[in-house]
Amino acid sequence: MKVFFWTLVIVMMLVIQSTIVPLLAIQGITPDLLLIVVVSASLLFGKDHGVGTGFFSGLLQDLASGNIFGVNTLSKLSTGYLFGMAERQVFKEHILLPILAVAVATLFSGLIALLMMLILGYKIQLFAALINRVLPAVLYNMVFSIPIHKGIYSLSKKFNKA
C-alpha cells in the first residue's frame, strides 16, 4: 500500500513537472516538484522513505528526460538521506518546516548535481550556475513546498488510516 501510494505520488508529480510546470517558467527557471516530494517524505517518515523516494523519483526523472544519467538520482537520494536524519528532531506540523527545509534541500541537491556533472566532465561554471539557477529555484521551490507538503501530509494520513 505504501509503495503504491508513493509510486502514484511520484508519477503524478513527474507528469505535472514535465507538462504544466514548464509553462510557469520564469527565465527558464522552474520549480522541482519531485525534490519537494522527497523532502516531505523524508521529513515526515524518516530516512528509509527519504532514500526510497529520492532514489526512485530521481531515477524516473533521469530516465524520462534522457538525461545525464544519475545526476538526479544521486542528488535526490542524498537529499532524502540528509533530511531523513532530521525526521525525529522536527515539529512536523510547523508551517515553516517544509519551507526552510526545501530551501536548504534545493541548495544541497543543486550543489551535488553540479559537482557530479563536474566530475563527469561537463563544462560548468560552478558559481555562475549556483547563482543564476540554484538560487532563483530556491525561492520558487519554497513557494511550491507549502501546498505539496500539506497535500502529502494529509493524503498520507488518510492512507495510513485506510
Binding site: 514535465s18 509553462l23 530516465l63 538525461n67 563544462k123 539557477r133
Partner: protein
C-alpha cells in the same frame, strides 16, 4: 544493529552502481534504451492530455491579456505592414535579379527546401540540468534520429531518440548540444560553435571565435551546415554580448535564441531537404540551357 548495517550496505551499493553507470553512460549515451522507451512511451498519452489542458489554460490567460494591448498592437502592425510591403517589393526585384545572375553563373546551390512534419510538444524535461522536449510524432511519421527540429522563428534542436509515436528532442540550450554556426552579416561570416550554457540556459554561447574576429552585438547567427545534422541557413539567435575568454586567444558571444523556448507548443521536424524548387519563371529553363551550353564545346572538341 545488524539490520542497520544491511541497509547501509544496500545504500552504498546503490550509490556506487549509479555512479559507475553515470560515468559509463556519459560516454555511451543510450544506456537504457528499453527503460527509456517504456517510460517515455508510457507517459506520453498522459502527458499529452495534461499538456493540452495546460496550454488551453494559458491560452485563456494570454488572450485576456491580449485584449488590453490589442489596439496598440494593431497600430504598430499597420505601420509594420506598410514597411513590409515596401521591402517585399524590393525582395521580389532582388529575387528576380538573383535568379538571373544565378542562371548566368550556372550556380548550383542547395538552398534549403525542406519537407516538414509538424509535431506537438507534449512534455518538457523534468530535470533541471538538461533541456529536452518530447514530441508526439515518431518513427511512424517518418522521424529518425539526428533530424533537425525548427520553428518558423529558427532552430530548436535535433532528435536524439525516437520511438513509435514519440520522439525526444535535445534543445540547443542543452549543455550537450553543439551547433556549427556562422555570423549572417555578409562582411563577417565568422564561424563558431553554439553550445548550451548550464549556468544560464536561455543564453547559449557561440564559442571558439578568434579574439580578433569580426563579431559584434546585434549580429544574427545562423547554422553553417557543418557537421551534417543541421541544414545551412537556419536562424539560431542574436548576439547580445561578446566576452573575451580567459587565456587570451579566444572569445565567446552570448546569444539570445530566436526561438522562445519558454513558449514552445508546436515544432517542425525537417524530414528531408531537396534541391530548390525555383519560384521565378526564369530558372526552370536553366537546366536545358546549361546542357545545351556544355554539350556544345564537347561537340566542337571532337
Amino acid at each position: 544493529m545488524r539490520f542497520f548495517n544491511k541497509k547501509a550496505v544496500i545504500l552504498l551499493v546503490a550509490v556506487i552502481t549509479v555512479f559507475l553507470l553515470a560515468g559509463s553512460s556519459e560516454r555511451d549515451k543510450n544506456k537504457f534504451p528499453f527503460l527509456e522507451r517504456v517510460i517515455t512511451s508510457g507517459l506520453a498519452p498522459i502527458e499529452s492530455a495534461v499538456s493540452k489542458l495546460g496550454f488551453s489554460f494559458r491560452q485563456v490567460g494570454s488572450s485576456a491579456g491580449q485584449l488590453i494591448t490589442v489596439y496598440r498592437d494593431n497600430q504598430a502592425l499597420k505601420a509594420e505592414n506598410e514597411q513590409l510591403r515596401q521591402s517585399n517589393f524590393n525582395v521580389t526585384e532582388i529575387m528576380a535579379e538573383n535568379a538571373r545572375l544565378r542562371a548566368m553563373l550556372d550556380y548550383k546551390t542547395k538552398a534549403p527546401q525542406f519537407d516538414f512534419v509538424t509535431a506537438k510538444v507534449i512534455a518538457r524535461d523534468p530535470g533541471t540540468w538538461t533541456s529536452t522536449i518530447v514530441i508526439n510524432k515518431g518513427t511512424a511519421d517518418g522521424i529518425a534520429k539526428d533530424m533537425a527540429v525548427v520553428t518558423p522563428q529558427g532552430l530548436v534542436g535535433d532528435v536524439i531518440s525516437v520511438f513509435n509515436n514519440t520522439a525526444k528532442v535535445q534543445l540547443i540550450l542543452d549543455q550537450r548540444s553543439a551547433v556549427g554556426t556562422l555570423v549572417q552579416r555578409p562582411e563577417s561570416r565568422v564561424a563558431g560553435i553554439v553550445e548550451g550554457n548550464a549556468a544560464n540556459p536561455l543564453a547559449p554561447r557561440m564559442v571558439n571565435i578568434a579574439r580578433d574576429a569580426d563579431i559584434i552585438k546585434g549580429d544574427q547567427i545562423i547554422t553553417s551546415g557543418f557537421g551534417g545534422i543541421y541544414p545551412k541557413g537556419l536562424q539560431v539567435g542574436q548576439v547580445t554580448d561578446v566576452v573575451n575568454e580567459e587565456g587570451g586567444l579566444l572569445k565567446y558571444a552570448v546569444l539570445k535564441p530566436s526561438v522562445d523556448f519558454d513558449k514552445l507548443e508546436e515544432v517542425l521536424v525537417i524530414v528531408g531537404s531537396r534541391e530548390p524548387v525555383a519560384r521565378m519563371p526564369v530558372v526552370p529553363q536553366k537546366p536545358s540551357n546549361t546542357q545545351a551550353f556544355s554539350a556544345a564545346p564537347q561537340g566542337a572538341g571532337r
